[in-house]
Amino acid sequence: MRDFHRSAPAAVQMTVRDALNQAMDEELERDERVFLLGEEVAQYDGAYKVSRGLWKKYGDKRIIDTPISEINVLLQAGLRPICEFMTFNFSMQAIDQIINSAAKTYYMSAGLQSVPIVFRGPNGASAGVAAQHSQCFAAWYGHCPGLKVVSPWNSEDAKGLLKSAIRDENPVVVLENELLYGVPFEMSEEAQSKDFTIPIGKAKIERQGNSITLVAHSRYVGHCLDAAAVLAKEGIECEVINLRTIRPMDVESIETSVMKTNHLVTVEGGWPQFGIGAEICARIMEGPAFNYLDSPVTRVTGVDIPMPYAKILEDHSLPQVKDIIFSVKKTLNI
């Protein structure tokens, strides 16, 4: 008699775009109160095709094309809107509403009025879209109490975090990344389930290591992993943390890691001043991990300039893998 050879549960490859699409599809199906609105989300299938097929499936009532009026952020009492910004650069047209109406209302009403709304869209630099279309808003939104802010990297992050955001009773800003939309990642069998969510406020260790801790969010998690692979050949083992959530930030995970590795490098696409790395530095100093640091924390960030258009300039305005490798070595004094 032969034993059955059972293969491991089947993982599939899925792009971030499809993961986001699946998340919205599942949540639209699960809860009648959920709907999507934004520019070109319905008949055009989404400016970046993230909402492809949803209008065909759910119709005019649940998937709504809006005029170009970002400020039409609706406090739809009793409903659960997903508000797409074609890019977060345009969210500045509506930022008063996001902060003053969405973020602060539950507090101001002493718990009477909740705002279960999701703001999602591409954030940060793309390719050649120049100064007004390339800004990272993680620090701006992460600054405000009352908002939750998530920044997925891979497809599992995208699906799990978006589903959690939609189910959350609070206003959640979901910072996606246009350059990642078309990138396929492995989706575990667990992630393929309709009930798969990722808790907001918990970071993930993508790679274990003992030499140094690298913390990043969104696209730069990938850069950190690439840098770690190169550094491993020289015997430097990086622990790579995928923040997943900007606010509330999982400082504990970072502290635990730093207390093991004694060195920390943060990596982000946004500008350095008052940014994610700056906040991490401050929090580390204020907590138990400070005494475990063998050198100051290094921040790897975007260059402190508006985004230029020319390719050579744009390439040099953002952290490259070699910048991370360089910074790791400097931090380790190698």
Partner: protein, 395 residues
């Protein structure tokens, strides 16, 4: 003047044969003295709002003006088509919003204002950069991100500037309050200049535009608001975006004109009327130009999922601005086919030369990465991607 036209070649060969055989041939060459120097045209009447009279419907076009408009529109057309090509070859990257089909707007407007006046528009701006004084070379080199670009490669398609032209703006509608601000400066300085402030049918629903209408009217600012209504805001038709598609009336207390934006003479006449209105201290005026873009919203939009190919074809065959002008000039003996063909050849060459420059000019030097953050500041240190990267900014 040898053209690529086969008929002309065979005619010339025939002449050559005749001459070489000693025959005396009297060729009837068209001299410029044979052309009509000017003609009067009947143009479409504008719909008016809060106005007792509108722009003239009988207009005079001189031969020189006609040739100039033709050349300018043709240059803009060819430049945009070349940009399309370069984008598909990935030599232009990022966003690229093309203007072909709308040439009559930019040319007609410029024909009735002075270079000392001001103009601001949104991101479909290559044509305006040209009519405001940018060269094809500088524009194309900006699209390809080279040091010879009009913004030294720093701005790209959506951020081109030149004297009295304030871009080139990426955020829909944001340029409108800026335009009113320029008009305020004109009034403040008493220089009799005005500002032409353009936006699209999509932007027309932005709240900031209504705030601007209010202030411009209240303070009687010399601003001509122009809505270039090309029927679609990206993929959304005007009917699906606007509660009222009478864009020329949406200024409520600001007088308005609805103009055939495919006819350069209509646009010119309406702009003349509007400029007079502003310069006489009456305050702002609003023009809606009904126009059409052949390309999709941008190079990443095929432009056929929300409109039919038949519609695009119909506009091309019945209302193309360049063809309209050409037909007018030819049927009134204001120019010859050969002459216009010659212009086409010259334009083609100019575009080719510009493209050649745009693809061979080097990229901006890395030393210039951080320049021009602040004005009037001596050298400033700028943080690079890591704490050891100390870069320099010079203005």
């Amino acid at each position: 003047m040898y053209s690529n036209d086969r008929c002309t070649w065979s005619f010339i060969n025939l002449l050559h044969t005749c001459f070489s055989q000693g025959a005396a041939v009297i060729t009837s060459a068209r001299t410029y003295a044979d052309f009509t120097t000017q003609a009067t045209f009947e143009i479409k009447k504008c719909d008016v709002f809060k106005l007792d009279e509108g722009p003239a419907t009988q207009v005079v076009l001189t031969r020189d003006e006609g040739l100039q408009y033709y050349r300018t529109m043709q240059t803009m057309r060819r430049m945009e088509l070349k940009a399309d090509q370069l984008y598909k070859q990935k030599i232009i990257r990022g966003f690229c919003h093309l203007y072909d089909g709308q040439e009559a707007c930019a040319v007609g407007i410029e024909a009735s204002i002075n270079l000392s006046d001001h103009l601001i528009t949104a991101y479909r701006a290559h044509g305006y950069t040209y009519t405001r004084g940018g060269t094809v070379k500088e524009i194309m080199a900006e699209l390809t991100g080279r040091r010879g670009g009009i913004a030294k490669g720093k701005g790209g398609s959506m951020h081109m500037y030149c004297k009295h032209f304030y871009g080139g703006n990426g955020i829909v509608g944001a340029q409108v309050p800026l335009g009113a601000g320029v008009a305020l400066a004109c009034k403040y300085q008493g220089n009799n200049e005005l500002c032409v402030c353009l936006y699209g049918d999509g932007a027309a629903n932005q709240g900031q535009i209504f705030e601007t209408y209010n202030m411009a009217a209240l303070w009687k600012l010399p601003v001509i608001f122009i809505c270039e209504n090309n029927r679609y805001g990206m993929g959304t038709s005007v009917e699906r975006a606007a509660a009222s598609t009478d864009y020329f009336k949406r200024g409520e207390f600001i007088p308005g004109l609805r103009v055939d934006g495919m006819d350069v003479l209509c646009v010119r006449e309406a702009t003349r009327f509007a400029a007079d209105h502003c310069r006489s201290g009456k305050g702002p005026i609003l023009m809606e130009l009904q126009t059409y873009r052949y390309h999709g919203h941008s190079m990443s939009d095929p432009g056929v999922s929300y409109r039919t190919r038949e519609e695009i074809q119909e506009v091309r065959s019945k209302s193309d601005p360049i063809s309209m002008l050409k037909d007018r000039m030819l049927s009134n003996n204001m120019a010859s086919v050969e002459e216009l063909k010659e212009i086409d050849v010259e334009v083609r060459k100019e575009i080719e030369d510009a493209a050649q420059f745009a693809t061979t000019d080097p990229e901006p030097p890395l030393e210039e990465l951080c320049n021009h953050i602040f004005c009037d500041m001596p050298s400033l240190e700028v943080r690079g991607t890591n704490p050891w990267a100390k870069l320099k900014s010079v203005s």
